[in-house]
């Protein structure tokens, strides 16, 4: 059921809002009860997922205003428009992609179409899509935990605060993370067809992620860089060669995004904001922001990478979420290092390739970093699938090592 007058009615914080969203929660909670009874999940997962399904009710309008993530309204309007009229909401009709041309489907429309498949009873408010996000995250959990003996360990990775937060709002980040996770795990497992197919939605949903994942696919499929040291070095050399050959194009794209993100957050002296302010007053800064050579790009990426990993910095903390996110970013780095050292992953080229791709992706973000809040979200969207990939490698590596040791014992 959808709201026919989606663009006019705002149920924000009213009794009707909670009624509609409790109906969505009820359907998901009922599903998780059935899944539990079918013995697909244990009791811990049951309790945790009941809480996670309830969490969207606690964020929008309760802990913070939904305007903190204002794009949610666009996604909500789009899904309601598609469900009622079959046509895109007027403000999202403009499409276009750097790679797919001007006829490409809009990322908002694609997100709404994918999330709209999820059979929720009430797509009525700005929070409805958050429940769709939770549902696809739950399916990802069910799929991902199959690869592990300990369900509880996997469950902990779905309790990371940023994941809980971003999947509790109606944005496309959860979808991007889920697609990236499926892509990475399948690639590590040596299955290429699904990852190749997943590149299409990714190029529309998040082109930066597409660039990283496409490079990862090339490293795995063409260069086999996960197998030996020589192939890994050859892959790195090939990347450098391509970067040098196409440096003008690469610089153009990097500068375009770099300026676009700065322009989006630009505030003019007369109170104008965003691109309008940039068009009036930002031209003087354009020269200073433009990167002119590949060494300069690499230098800037190296300088900005630690900042990206640690933002939000203490001097920028303006609400309670900021210190929590700072602590979380440190914990996520710690977790990555801990998994690596505990499982001696530094002996695996699969790990090296995965980490290289993560660094490349983070460096891209470090180059275009502008608004802290946005980039904390972007960073997590990139980092999380790679963390799950690392978890998968660590268990797989452990099993292989155990298997090899067992064989040695037998031979003895």
């Amino acid at each position: 059921m959808v709201n026919e007058y989606f663009h006019l009615t705002n149920y924000g914080g009213t009794l009707e809002f909670y009624l509609f969203e409790l109906a969505n929660f009820s359907v998901l909670a009922c599903l998780v009860l059935i899944i539990y009874k079918l013995d697909f999940i244990n009791v811990n997962s049951l309790i945790v997922w009941l809480c996670l399904f309830f969490s969207p009710l606690l964020f929008n309008y309760f802990i913070f205003s939904p305007y903190l993530f204002g794009d949610q309204f666009l996604y909500a309007a789009e899904i309601m428009s598609l469900k009622t009229t079959g046509e895109s909401y007027e403000h999202t009709q403009a499409s276009g992609s750097l790679l797919l041309g001007s006829n490409a489907i809009n990322p908002v429309t694609l997100t709404a179409k994918i999330l709209g498949i999820i059979p929720l009873p009430a797509y009525m408010t700005v929070s409805s899509l958050a429940f769709a996000n939770k549902f696809i995250l739950f399916l990802t959990f069910l799929w991902f935990k199959r690869f592990f003996n300990s369900e509880n360990e996997v469950l902990l990775y779905f309790l990371i605060p940023s994941l809980v937060l971003y999947s509790s709002v109606g944005l496309r980040d959860t979808l991007v993370m889920v697609i990236a996770t499926i892509f990475i795990i399948n690639l590590i497992r040596g299955r290429f067809i699904l990852p190749i197919l997943l590149l299409y939605p990714m190029v529309i949903l998040k082109i930066q992620m597409f660039a990283v994942l496409a490079l990862y696919l090339a490293g795995h499929l063409i260069f086999q860089a996960h197998k030996t040291r020589n192939l890994f070095i050859f892959f790195i050399c090939a990347i450098f060669a391509v970067v040098v050959i196409y440096q003008n194009t690469i610089l153009e794209i990097v500068n375009l995004y770099r300026l676009a993100f700065v322009a989006e957050n630009f505030i003019g002296p007369d109170g104008t904001i965003s691109y309008e302010a940039w068009a009036k007053y930002g031209q003087e800064d354009q020269e200073a922001l433009t990167l002119n050579s590949i060494p300069e790009v690499i230098f800037f990426a190296i300088i900005n990478l630690p900042i990206l990993l640690l933002i939000p910095m203490p001097w920028n903390w303006s609400n309670i979420f900021y210190p929590l996110q700072s602590i979380e970013s440190l914990l996520l780095i710690y977790l990555y290092v801990k998994l690596t050292l505990e499982n001696k992953l530094y002996k695996s080229y699969e790990f090296f390739l995965l980490t290289l791709m993560l660094i490349v992706g983070l460096s891209l973000y470090a180059l275009i970093m502008a608004n802290e809040g946005t980039f904390v979200r972007y960073r997590f969207t990139l980092y999380y699938p790679f963390l799950l990939g690392l978890l998968y490698i660590s268990k797989h590596h452990q099993n292989n090592t155990d298997g090899a040791n067992n064989e040695k014992l037998i031979y003895k």
Binding site: Y5, A23, L33, K37, E276
Partner: protein, 301 residues
């Protein structure tokens, strides 16, 4: 075959059947549905029907003619004329949300229609008592500041800002003015008055501005000895007179009205079927959850 066995299909179908008969197909579920009906009825009764009132406008074509064609460089030198870079829509929106417009609407008695009984006597509508929440009164008492006793044009300005939402479609270029209100007749009348008054206010502003430009240009012209400068100043005066001639008629200036304000036939809120449906789903689940907790409390704790 071993692949199918791995899924334990038979066993799981059996579990699903058990789940259905144990938690769903029960008397308790019927009670839950009945309670949901009562609950939905209560919600719909306490809700006030809200109608959607919309009007479609477009930017008037004469503005671009006037801005592009005339109003020469001298005007810009003297008064910084034509500084509005955001287009007619931005000007229109700024005027609509301005205090000056709220004051004009207030003087026409709209404050009385919004906050009072509609009496157009200014002695009445300038003394409509303002009600404050207990928390606001308490805060004022503790902090030692005074709350306004009567409604004023500032309240009407806030009302306009919160209720009226002008939005320009970036592709078609049309301007949609939207409002949701329980009294559709009032909303139509109010929106109509607001649109016309905003445009009128904009026109009056421009006429005043043109008069000021003419006055100051004439002063410059009287002292100017340079023939090319005098020619530029004369051109400016001509263009400002042309502008005034364009503005001093009853035609809208900033906007053309494509669709006058009209209301939806049915209320947009509350959505009665959605309330009944969502409520049924919620109570049905509560019934399942209740049974589930009772029968599985050992496992859960």
């Amino acid at each position: 075959m071993s692949f199918i066995k791995q899924f334990r299909v038979k066993e799981r179908v059996h579990i699903l059947k058990d789940f259905f008969f144990e938690y769903i197909f029960t008397k308790q579920s019927i009670y839950a549905i009945l309670i949901s009906l009562v609950f939905s009825f209560f919600i719909t009764q306490r809700s006030i029907s809200q109608f959607s009132v919309t009007s479609t406008l477009k930017e008037a074509s004469q503005i671009s003619q006037m801005k592009g064609g005339i109003g020469g460089g001298a005007a810009q030198l003297l008064m910084g004329a034509d500084a509005s870079a955001g287009g007619a829509f931005n000007d229109f929106k700024l005027d609509m949300y301005s205090f000056a417009l709220a004051q004009r609407m207030w003087n026409q008695g709209w404050g009385s229609k919004v906050y009072g009984n509609g009496d157009l006597n200014d002695e009445y509508f300038n003394k409509i008592p303002k009600r404050h929440r207990v928390s606001d009164r308490l805060a004022a008492f503790l902090m030692g500041y005074e709350l306004y006793e009567y409604y004023s044009a500032y309240d009407l300005q806030s009302y306009i800002k919160s209720k009226i939402d002008p939005d320009k479609d970036r592709y078609s270029g049309t301007i949609d003015i939207k409002m949701i209100h329980s009294n559709k007749d009032f909303a139509i009348e109010f929106m109509n008055a607001l649109i016309l008054e905003t445009d009128k206010y904009g026109k009056e502003n421009l006429i005043q501005r043109s008069n000021e430009i003419i006055a100051s240009t004439l002063k410059q012209l009287a002292t100017s000895r340079n023939s090319s400068m005098a020619s530029a100043l004369s051109e400016t005066i001509n263009s400002e007179y042309f502008k005034i001639a364009n503005l001093e008629n009853d035609m809208p200036y900033h906007i053309d009205i494509v669709d006058p304000p009209h209301s939806s036939e049915y209320p947009v809120s509350p959505n009665v079927p959605a309330i009944f449906f969502a409520s049924a789903v919620m109570f049905f689940f509560l019934s399942i959850l209740f049974s589930f907790l009772l029968k599985n409390k050992e496992d859960l704790w």
